[in-house]
Structures are given as structure tokens and as C-alpha cells.
Amino acid sequence: MFSKRYWLGLPLAAALFVAPARAQTADSAAETPDPFLNLKAFNPDVSAIVDMFYYDENSDEGMGHVAGEIAGFGHAHAAGEGEEHHHHAADKGFNLRHLELQFSGTVDPYFKATAIAAIDLDDAEMEVAEIETTGLPFGLKVKGGKFFSDFGYLNAQHSHEWDFVDQPLIYQLALGSHGLNDKGVQVSWLAPTPFYLLAGVEAFQGDNEQAFAYHGDGELPEDDGPRVGVGWLKIGPNLPGNHGLQFGAFAATGTHQEEHDGDGDGTTDHWLDGDTSFWGADAVYKYNSPQSYGQGDFALQAEYFSRKKDLDLVAHDLAPHLVGNSRIDEQDGYYVQATYGFLPRWRAGLRWEQVGLTNESELPSGETEDFGSSDRASAMIDFTPSHFSRLRLQANQGSYETAEGTEDVTEVYVQWMVSLGAHGAHNF
């Protein structure tokens, strides 16, 4: 969405700023070219995404609690946040997603840059601050700063680009609500093939919500960065006419450290150190219908990923005899979703997802645990009045496998979002 136009901000600002100057030299102004016109062209594009939604669900202790307790994934808390840490979840009632304030533009003949500030009600975060090259030979591009990893399909998309209000479970459980977004460097290469073939490698510092990070208290010396390496490949076969297709494969690995409060007394009592790896694949097909306003357009996308945490117990205040043993967690998940433009400006979408088809934990005690899977079905309808606004109704029906048993939860979202200003076009 918002896939067009990044024009109006500048001319509008131009009109506002130039008007007084014009008034002073009213007679000659009509003939004289605007002296600021060229300077204005150097201003970055500025846009803001305002995104609000109404949310309701019927779980016993809140959806954040459920997500935090999904069997097999529940031990994933970044250290220092305590066992009672709840996953970032929407509040029942009104929610305002962070205000995405974006600046982007060309820096010089060599670089372009994008900066996105994510402003919440009570704090602000630097979501993206990226520089990329524009003039390297041999199909190469280097990107640096803080950015979304280009692995998979959905990771690099901002929340306003998603076809559903919420992200798929596997993303949320494996990488947290922001996906893999970190400080680092990426090198990518567009192969000289007659079809689309893009390969990339990335090195990240490793400050993720759910993996790699550690904010320790001294018991476990923090690993030096960069702590994560990612590699991915995307292939787009040439399809005739209005069809578009892309396949991707990816793998990542990084050091991973955790600390836990096993007995829940409020003090950290055991520490784990090792690494986390994940790998997976994605596929996207899009059909651009010959009708207008998106009617008849169809999109099908799916992603699978599998994660393995391989940690050693480095210290345990309560069970010192287990120290040196390892803890291995293997989990996976996928989602498949489709959207269809059933009327001009109206789309309907369905999403089906499962997590924990593989769901095993090998504990330091030598025991192994095997958990069941959780699944969720979602349906949405959205209306896009123009390129710059969208309204959406979404319902989720999930069945979640937690330590307390299976819990069925229904969620409903009503979303309203707009794009203000000059926002660049989106990728495939």
C-alpha cells in the first residue's frame, strides 16, 4: 500500500514558504524562476504513518501472556527481563502504533540514506538509520547503519506494509515484535543472470529482543559484537504478463546468551551461553489484474523458518551439578497467506499459520521435552480509499499450546491508518 507518490510534501511546503517572498516582489515574481526551487529539490522526502487500531480478545490472562507461554518458545526471554516478561501485545481497546516518521533521499552521487524515527506515546526509537551505496560496479550494493535484515519476505517490511494488522507468530516468537532489525552492515549482489538473482550477507551487532542479545550482570561476560551473521538468496523467474514470482532461502547464526530466574524468587540463578541459528525459505506470487483500483489482484505468500538454540549451562546457583551440560531447543513455524481484490479498492485476505511442528527441548538434566504445536487462522477485509489511507477489519482464531494446556483465543482488530507526506514506493 501507499505504493506511489512521494510528491506532495515538497510542492506544498514550497508554496507555503515561498508565498511571502513572492508577495514582496509581486510584479517581477511571475517572470523570475523560483530561486529556491533547486534547493528544495535537495530536501529529503518526509512522511509520517499514523496507524491506530481497536483491539479485543478473549484469553484468560491476556494475549501477551499466552504468546509468552507458548510451549517450547517460552524459555526465550532475553536476559535481565525476568521470567514474568510478557510479549509485547496490544491492549484491549484503543491502540496507537508508533508514529513512523521517515526521511529519505539521495545524499550525493555515491550514497542514499533513510532515517525512520518510531515515536511512541512515551518514548522514541531509532527504527532505521541506513546508508546505502548507489554507484558500485558489478551489481554490488553495501548498506550500513541500523536496518531491517532482508532475509525472508516480511522481515524488511514495515508494519504499515503488512497485509494483516499483526505479524506472523513465528516472527514474533523467534525474533520479537521488530523482527531482525539491528546495527550492522550488508553486502548484496545482483547476479548477471537473465532472471532475478540477488544474494546478500549481513553482519549484525546482535541486539535482538528474542535472540542473540545479552545485557548481563557480570556472571556472564558479554560476547563482543558483531554477534550475528545472516545470508540469503532471492530468485525471481521471469513470468509472462502480469505475473510476479519470487523465491527466497536464508540462514542466520549468532552467539546467544541468557540468564534466568528458575525458582522465581526475583534473583537470577542460572546462566546459559551458546548460539542460535535459524534457516528457512519464502515464496511470493503476485498477479496484477488488468482491472483498475486493485480489483482482481491476487497475492500468495508463505514463509517457513526453523530455529535451533544450542546453549551450555555456564553457571547454576541452585543446581551446580548441571553446570557444563547443554540445553538445546528446536522450534519451527510457517505461515501461508493470500489476498484478493474482490472489488475496486477492497481486498479480502486469509492467513493460516502454525508454530512448533518441530518443538523439542533437551534440558541440562538430560531430560527431553516434546511439545505440541500452536496454530492460528486469520481473516481480514480492507478498504483502501486512496493510495494514502486504509481501513481494515481482522479476526484471528488461535489454538495455543502452553504449559497450562491448550488455550483457544479469538482476537479482533479494527485498523485505520494513513500515510502523510512524501513516502517512497515499496519493493515487490
Binding site: L8, P11, A15, F195, Y196, G236, G241, N288, H387, A425
Partner: protein, 327 residues
């Protein structure tokens, strides 16, 4: 045998290395531009277009295949005026092809070479719908703009390949002659220079022995028509037709019942008997208005390839003129 093969290989290599051996790779955003580029570049280029002519260029997405094509392009030709803004920059940026980035010789924005209409005056707001601040981008439907586009392409090709400039300009002259003849007929061209005819026709003056599109549409001069989107103003302007309104209440916003009711009243008052629209829009609104006013609905491609008959730029205009001049 071995020696002969070596000889052939050496010869082939020599050809491949020599200037002029490899044809230029031109990627046009639309099928109309691609056809003009083919006419001008002749055998010296491989030309392809991103839009097939059946879809609305406003609503394309930046497909991986587009990026693969832009990667090897020597020249990228665009309509400009934000017609392609939904996908053009991600494609060019994704292609990592330094030679076709905006601002380089390998990037040609044809809107800079034509006469534009509908350039908004005064403060703009998105409340006006999908307005293009630089002007209306559907300029290729004016045959005189088609002529200017071909000229701009020839100039750019000559700059990229000075060794072939003579051939490009010869091809251009041939295309211009064909276009002028379709526009005014061979007889009228015997009596006056083409440039003079274009000027006189634009002023609405009598032209002796007039044939071609100008003659076919002469009876409709001054008459009103309604279009779906604001995409026919250049065509209408060239042939002196009056666009009285659009089925869309605002550019990019689908027809509403209230707007159509108002339009019907206007059409009755101004005795408008024609509704013109592209094949990619639904004909429902047009049929409704037609039922209320008796106006004839004409569905015509506005791009090469939009309809099977619209095989090239001249055939595209042939078709539109033929449809509109029917009684």
C-alpha cells in the same frame, strides 16, 4: 577444420568487440514508448517495455523480473510525471545499473520534451485525489507529442551512439512522415509542409485536401465527450474535442452514484453523446450513464497492446480515431 573454426571464432570475436556490433538494450516503461523507440532505433536496439499495455501503469508493482531487465539496460525511457512512481525507483535502484539512474544519459524522461496540459496552478492538496503536480501524464495520446517523443528518443540515441546518429535520424524522418500522413493524408502534405499543417490544424484553420485522422475527426470538432479518467485530454485537445467531465469524481477515485447523477445532468445540458474509456476500467458506470443519456460508450485502448488491434503506435491512434468517428 580446427583452423577454420579458430578463424571463424576470431572473426566473431572481432565483430563482438567492434563498436556497433552489440545492439543497445532499451527498456521503456510503457508499450507506447517501446514502439516509438523501435521505430527510431531500428535494428540497432533490442527494445522491451515494462507495461504490456493491458494494465494501468499507476497500479503496477516492482517485480523482480523488472529489476533483472533494468540491470542490463543501456537506456531507460519513462513517461515521467509520476505515472510510474509506484514502482520505477525501486526497480532502478534495485537494478544497481549506474548507467540508467535518473540524471544520467541512460535515463530519458519524455515528459521533458512534450507540451503538457493540466499542470496544476496554485496550492495542491491530496484532497483533490490522485493529481500529478507536474502535469497530466497521458500525453502520448496526442500524435504531435508522439512525434516529439520520437524526436527526443532519436536525440538521446544519437548521444549514446554517435556512430549511428545518421541512421537514427533517418528512421526518425521515416516515422515522422508516416505519422504526418496518417494525421493529414498524403494529399494535404503535397500542398504544405507538415510543420505548417500541424500549426494550421491546431488553430482550427481550413486545410485543403485534408485526409487522415484530422479529416475523420473534423465533424466532431467542438463536440463534447465524457471520459472515465482524465487520460484523454491530450487526444481531445489535438482534435478539438471538448472533455465535459469524467466518470471518476476525482482522479483515482472510482465513480460514485452522486457524481454520476450530476454528470448525467451536465451531459444532457451540453448534449454529450459519447463516453470514452480504457479497457481496464469496468464499463458499469459508463453503461449506467449511457442508459440515462443515450450516449455511445467507446472502449478504446490508450496504450499499444491494450487491445489486439493496437499493434503499434499508429495502429493505436487509427483505432481510437476510427471508433470515435463512427456515427
Amino acid at each position: 577444420m580446427g583452423k577454420r573454426l579458430m578463424g571463424a571464432l576470431t572473426l566473431a570475436l572481432a565483430f563482438a568487440a567492434g563498436a556497433g556490433a552489440t545492439p543497445l538494450n532499451i527498456v521503456a516503461t510503457t508499450s507506447d514508448i517501446a514502439d516509438l523507440a523501435k521505430a527510431v532505433a531500428g535494428e540497432h536496439a533490442v527494445v522491451s517495455s515494462i507495461c504490456t499495455g493491458t494494465e494501468d501503469p499507476h497500479y503496477l508493482t516492482a517485480k523482480p523480473g523488472f529489476i533483472a531487465r533494468a540491470r542490463t539496460a543501456d537506456l531507460w525511457i519513462a513517461v515521467g510525471l509520476e505515472l510510474e512512481s509506484a514502482w520505477e525507483l525501486p526497480v532502478l535502484n534495485g537494478s544497481r545499473n549506474r548507467h540508467v539512474q535518473p540524471g544520467t544519459d541512460g535515463y530519458l524522461d519524455l515528459s521533458k520534451s512534450v507540451e503538457l496540459l493540466d499542470v496544476p496552478q496554485g496550492p495542491l492538496s491530496r484532497a483533490m485525489g490522485d493529481v500529478h503536480p507536474g502535469g497530466n501524464p497521458h500525453y502520448w495520446l496526442d500524435p504531435l507529442n508522439g512525434r516529439r517523443m520520437a524526436e527526443a528518443i532519436a536525440e538521446r540515441l544519437a548521444r549514446l551512439r554517435p556512430d549511428l546518429a545518421g541512421e537514427f535520424y533517418a528512421n526518425l524522418a521515416q516515422f515522422r512522415n508516416a505519422l504526418d500522413e496518417r494525421m493529414f493524408g498524403a494529399k494535404a502534405l503535397q500542398g504544405a509542409k507538415a510543420e505548417t499543417l500541424w500549426k494550421r490544424h491546431a488553430r482550427g484553420e481550413e486545410i485543403p485536401n485534408l485526409g487522415g485522422w484530422a479529416a475523420q475527426l473534423a465533424p466532431r470538432r467542438g463536440q463534447g465527450l465524457v471520459t472515465y479518467h482524465k487520460s484523454w485530454i491530450y487526444f481531445a485537445n489535438r482534435f478539438g474535442l471538448r472533455v465535459v467531465g469524467e466518470l471518476e469524481p476525482q482522479p483515482g477515485i472510482p465513480p460514485t452514484a452522486a457524481h454520476l447523477a450530476k454528470l448525467v445532468a451536465t451531459m444532457k445540458a451540453e448534449q454529450v453523446d459519447l463516453i470514452l474509456q480504457e479497457p481496464f476500467y469496468s464499463t458499469k458506470a459508463a453503461e449506467r450513464v449511457s442508459a440515462a443519456t443515450g450516449a455511445r460508450v467507446v472502449v478504446a485502448a490508450n496504450s499499444v497492446g491494450g487491445r489486439p488491434e493496437a499493434t503499434d503506435y499508429l495502429a493505436l491512434l487509427d483505432r481510437i480515431v476510427a471508433e470515435l468517428s463512427k456515427e
